[in-house]
């Protein structure tokens, strides 16, 4: 399986993402610059964290209009797995690939620490290797991760099982319904504030994020194994 790590000016978790795929997962991966006009050769698209375009105006607002985003939208429509982490999630929200928006953390502080997450839905292509209700530890690092959507959208997210991860025990940023990660309706786009790519090896302090990437590959193999 071949992954693209999209690099925007100001991305800073791209190397972690690349490392997770190449060294921990053992799959193919390439960096793709934000002005690229094709993602056709890739099977999975990863939008890393950082501060794209300085996060001027709003987090992700400017990155959303870069050339490569048209291709990311196409890939999402084609059903390819698209994962946005942290700033990557903010870009997916601005692009309308996921519903809702981010506000400043309730505490107004930038928070950087490991948090506990609950796997709310393990029936997605990103979470199938986890147990339902499994509690995992994944680091967060953000100033604007306070998820917001209107009542109607929240009901829709719940009814459609689009809430993949919630904060467990403590809600670090004030997110509505403790939401830490959501998928689109089709389930092939996942956005989450916590950083699974930062915990893929015990040397990094934990490996609870690894199963997320393993789930993506497992799903892809199940579909594409016939071709091999």
């Amino acid at each position: 399986m071949k992954f693209a790590v999209i690099v925007f000016p100001g991305s800073n978790c791209d190397i972690d993402m690349y490392h997770a795929i190449k060294d921990e997962l053992g799959e193919e991966v390439e960096y793709v610059w934000h002005d690229s006009e094709s993602l056709a050769e890739f099977d999975g698209i990863l939008l890393p964290g950082g501060f794209s375009y300085g996060d001027y105006l709003r987090c992700g607002a400017i990155a959303r209009f870069s050339n490569v985003m048209n291709e990311v939208i196409k890939a999402a429509e084609a059903g390819k797995p698209v994962l946005g982490v942290c700033n990557g999630l903010q870009i997916l929200l601005e692009a309308g690939l996921l519903p809702g928006a981010m506000k400043r953390n309730e505490s107004l502080s930038f928070i950087c620490k490991p948090v506990k997450l609950k796997v709310e839905n393990n029936q997605t292509m990103f979470t199938s290797e986890y147990e339902e209700g499994e509690i995992i530890t994944v680091p967060i690092a953000h100033g604007e991760g306070n998820y917001y959507c209107d009542e109607e959208t929240l009901e829709h997210l719940k009814a459609n099982h689009q809430i993949a991860f919630t904060y467990y025990g403590e809600n670090p940023n004030g997110s509505l319904a403790n939401i830490a990660g959501i998928t689109n309706e089709k389930g092939n786009v996942l956005g989450m504030m916590p950083h699974p790519e930062r915990c893929v090896d015990d040397l990094l302090g934990g490996s609870d994020g690894l199963k997320l990437f393993q789930s993506i590959v497992k799903h892809w193999r199940e579909i594409n194994v016939v071709k091999a």
Partner: protein
């Protein structure tokens, strides 16, 4: 030429964490009469005349980029600048 002043604020229904912090600060300074603060953004645009209606252009710009209409409202004032 137009000078356009755009104001972007969080929607009334959305809690504003920055506004709440600044309000608490003012109240602890003794300004008990301040009951609410909404923090927003103010932008000034210089826009050349074109064959498109200026209101239509500004609405489009605000919806597309300047505001995130999921959580923000915007309003604007348009002033015609006469150059001599």
């Amino acid at each position: 030429m137009y000078k356009v002043k755009v104001y972007v604020t969080l929607k009334e229904s959305v809690l504003d964490p920055q506004g709440a912090a600044v309000k608490n600060s003012l109240q602890s300074l003794g300004y008990k009469e301040v009951t609410d603060i909404r923090i927003g953004k103010y932008m000034e645009l210089q826009v050349e005349k074109s064959d498109r209606d200026i209101n239509e252009v500004i609405d489009e710009i605000c919806d597309k980029l300047l505001a995130n209409v999921v959580i923000e409202d915007y309003r604007y004032e348009i002033e015609e600048v006469v150059t001599q």
